[in-house]
């Protein structure tokens, strides 16, 4: 196998897949850092976002990429609503209760998707798109869009966290919620802003997953494990860590096929998660220890 083949069939798909994982992992890491629990409905919220975009494209005739912001806003609002309805009420209870509640929310969201859109595989656009050749490297425009949008969204998020008042409040709450409360940070508003961002990122992850493959009602749930692996690999609470983690998990999954029988591909994310928790529980970039 020559170098170009390796890049085209292992590294490029790995990076595209990794970008999708990264979008999910950033959301997971934010919930972990600020609200301090594992959010198991993350994958199914991504599915919801993907199908909202699908509805925008097929029913309202919105151009493909314009459906992304619509889906992000809609899913963000749903995320805030879910928080108000289910998680807020459990805030003072042990965290594990909220984690289990999020599993229930995951099943509910998935069922809603199945009731509204059915269980058939759908696509944003009919037909196939062949990649273009960029000096030997074969890329599709949607793959470039996936990676660039991921980088763009993460940069915006970083700027927001560093420069704005609410971003600083979120970081303060992540560092020490009691101290943040005493310093006058309004926890309820921080939670609201967090869910807006997390919901939007979920929708983006779902949209790009659907764009690069198909839309299925189980698509988000099946991405949950690699996304968690990416968040923990990068270091819980570290945005840039989640991005690196996502890309690493994506590339390792694809490259693993060269060394392992392909049925073990899905297990690679598990292996990464395990090894990381044993060897370096803080993650690559020294995040929180769970």
């Amino acid at each position: 196998m020559d170098f170009l083949e390796f890049v085209n069939f292992y590294i490029v798909p790995g990076l595209v897949l990794g970008s999708i994982y990264a979008l999910g992992a950033v959301g997971i890491t934010l919930v972990f850092a600020i609200l301090r629990y594992a959010h198991l409905a993350h994958g199914d919220m991504a599915t919801l976002g993907a199908f909202v975009a699908f509805a925008a494209v097929t029913l309202a005739g919105v151009p493909l990429y314009a459906a992304l912001p619509i889906a992000m806003v809609a899913t963000a609002l749903v995320a805030v609503g879910i928080d108000r309805l289910f998680y807020d009420y459990l805030r003072e209870r042990p965290r594990i209760v909220t984690v289990m509640a999020s599993l229930g929310v995951a099943l509910m969201v998935r069922s809603v998707v199945q009731v509204i859109w059915g269980v058939d595989a759908e696509t944003y656009t009919r037909g196939i798109v062949r990649p273009e050749n960029w000096w030997g490297i074969r890329l599709k425009d949607r793959e470039i869009a996936t990676v660039l949008t991921m980088i763009g969204l993460v940069l915006c998020l970083q700027l927001f966290l560093m420069k704005t008042k609410w971003g600083k409040a979120m970081r303060a709450m992540s560092d020490n919620p009691n101290l943040a409360l005493l310093s006058g940070v309004d926890n309820a508003k921080v939670v609201f802003v967090t869910w807006m961002i997390v919901g939007g990122l979920c929708a983006a992850a779902g949209f790009f997953l659907g764009l690069n493959t198909e839309l299925k009602s189980m698509m988000g749930w099946q991405m949950l494990l690699p996304m968690f692996a990416a968040a923990i690999l990068g270091g819980v609470g570290r945005i840039e860590g989640a991005v690196i983690g996502g890309l690493v998990v994506g590339v390792v999954e694809e490259v693993s096929v060269m060394f392992l029988p392909s049925e073990y591909k899905a297990a690679t994310a598990f292996a990464i998660l395990l090894v990381m928790l044993i060897v370096r529980p803080t993650g690559l970039l020294r995040g929180k220890v769970l």
């Binding site: 196998m1 083949e5 085209n8 069939f9 292992y10 798909p13 790995g14 595209v16 897949l17 999708i20 199945q114 059915g118 269980v119 058939d120 595989a121 759908e122 696509t123 009919r126 037909g127 196939i128 798109v129 062949r130 990649p131 074969r138 599709k140 997953l209 690069n212 493959t213 198909e214 299925k216 009602s217 189980m218 698509m219 099946q222 991405m223 999954e253 694809e254 490259v255 693993s256 096929v257 060269m258 029988p261 392909s262 049925e263 591909k265 899905a266």
Partner: protein, 399 residues
């Protein structure tokens, strides 16, 4: 004190027994893969099963004029859901027989952990894995669809006849994919074909490009995919087409789904063929097609004939067994053993009268005669389908 409780409980029991109507409904479980990778196949299959039930109820009902009702459960094409759904059907709903589940892994799990221990007869209309034949089932598991052992071998012979002697094989890592792939492989290699790559994959991944690159490395230009056309098979087909890994694609019955046509476009599927069981042309099949079409169904949809037959057979067996669930399996063999007065699809009234008179009957179904062998299997006929004008049409009969 204890006695008072017992007496109270007994009164309650008596009360419920009296409250129940004199003719309770007769329930059969319909464990359908409503969600999961074969979800799009399920609705027509359920419709076909309901058609059989409707005919039974319109033509005098079952046993003493009771109503036959189906309890639909979602087996979701996976072992856990199938076990849950079967447990609910058997223990809570109290079904007498089960039609389904639809997927092989689901059949194996539900049979092993629920229906065989409970002594309930199960007839699957679409669980095709050779593993089901090998199940230690106390003669309680049957199928109206032929084993993939036949399909895999027939497909191998057909490909070789057409001059395709080098292929790469990708199969879904479950009982269905594995069973089919292994049957294909053994026949293909025995007859001098060469398999350049043989690899399993998991369902639900977003990218199979590295898998495809490994498969293509052997140099074959035909990829045989044993997967579901609405699951990973579709993703794989798309990525193989987009990246030009292979020229020709061949699928098993799971790939004969409308999803690839809908998602990828018929114009991109000119080199795609899929094998699938077909009903042998018979009077029974025509009869079924006519009635099912009139009821608004599509008789060409996959597994509708087997689904109808499984349900009708279950009803016949229950009638013959007099509603005794322990005798259903034995009765099932006797109503379809090739001896006795022929019963065609929909002839419930005739069958009921003959059973009442003690005459032997032999059901000849839409999908075949269903003369079960000792493992509860039926032989089958297959055809290779290609995509033309946005639908699957028969390309060649398979021997």
């Amino acid at each position: 004190m204890k006695k008072v409780h017992l007496a109270f409980a007994a009164t309650l029991l008596g009360a419920t027994a009296m409250a129940a109507p004199a003719h309770a409904d007769v329930k059969i479980g319909l464990l359908a893969g409503v969600s999961g990778p074969i979800a799009p196949m399920a609705p027509p299959m359920i419709d076909a099963a309901q058609l059989a039930v409707q005919q039974v109820n319109e033509q005098g009902g079952i046993l003493d004029g009771q109503k036959l009702v189906t309890v639909v459960g979602d087996s979701a094409c996976n072992p856990q859901n199938a076990t849950d759904a079967a447990t609910k059907a058997v223990n809570i709903e109290g079904v007498i027989a089960i039609v389904g589940p639809y997927c092989s892994g689901a059949v194996l799990a539900a049979a092993n952990s629920v229906t065989v221990p409970a002594g309930i007869t199960m007839i699957t209309p679409s669980g095709t894995s050779p593993e089901i034949s090998r199940l230690d089932d106390k003669d309680l598991v049957y199928r109206t669809v032929p084993s993939d052992d036949f399909q895999g071998r027939a497909l191998a012979r057909t490909l070789l006849e057409r001059g395709t002697d080098r292929v790469a094989v990708a199969y879904l890592n479950n009982d269905y994919g594995k069973g089919l792939a292994e049957a294909f492989k053994s026949e293909f290699e025995e007859r001098g074909g060469e398999i350049t790559a043989f690899a399993a994959h998991e369902d639900g991944k977003a990218s199979y490009r590295s898998d495809l690159a490994e498969l293509a490395a052997g140099g074959a230009d035909t990829l045989v995919i044993f997967d579901y056309g609405d699951g990973a098979g579709l993703t794989m087909l798309r990525q193989a087409l987009e990246n030009g890994f292979f020229e020709n694609f061949v699928g098993g019955d799971g790939m004969k789904s409308d999803a690839p046509i809908k998602a990828l476009g018929a114009e991109n599927l000119t080199t795609f063929t899929a094998s699938s069981p077909v009903g042998e042309t018979s009077q029974a099949l025509e009869l079924f097609n006519e009635v099912f079409k009139a009821a608004g169904g599509d008789p060409d949809a996959i597994f509708v004939t087997t689904s109808y037959d499984a349900t009708f057979l279950a009803a016949l067996a229950i009638e013959k067994a007099g509603g005794d669930k322990t005798k259903v399996a034995e009765a099932l063999r006797s109503v379809s053993d090739g001896r006795g007065e022929v019963i065609l699809p929909g002839e419930w009234r005739k069958a009921k009268e003959l059973i009442a008179a003690g005459t032997d009957i032999d059901y000849e179904g839409a999908a075949g005669d269903h003369d079960f062998d000792e493992r509860g299997d039926v032989p089958g006929a297959y055809a290779l389908f290609k995509v033309e004008d946005g639908a699957f049409v028969v390309d060649a009969e398979m021997k």
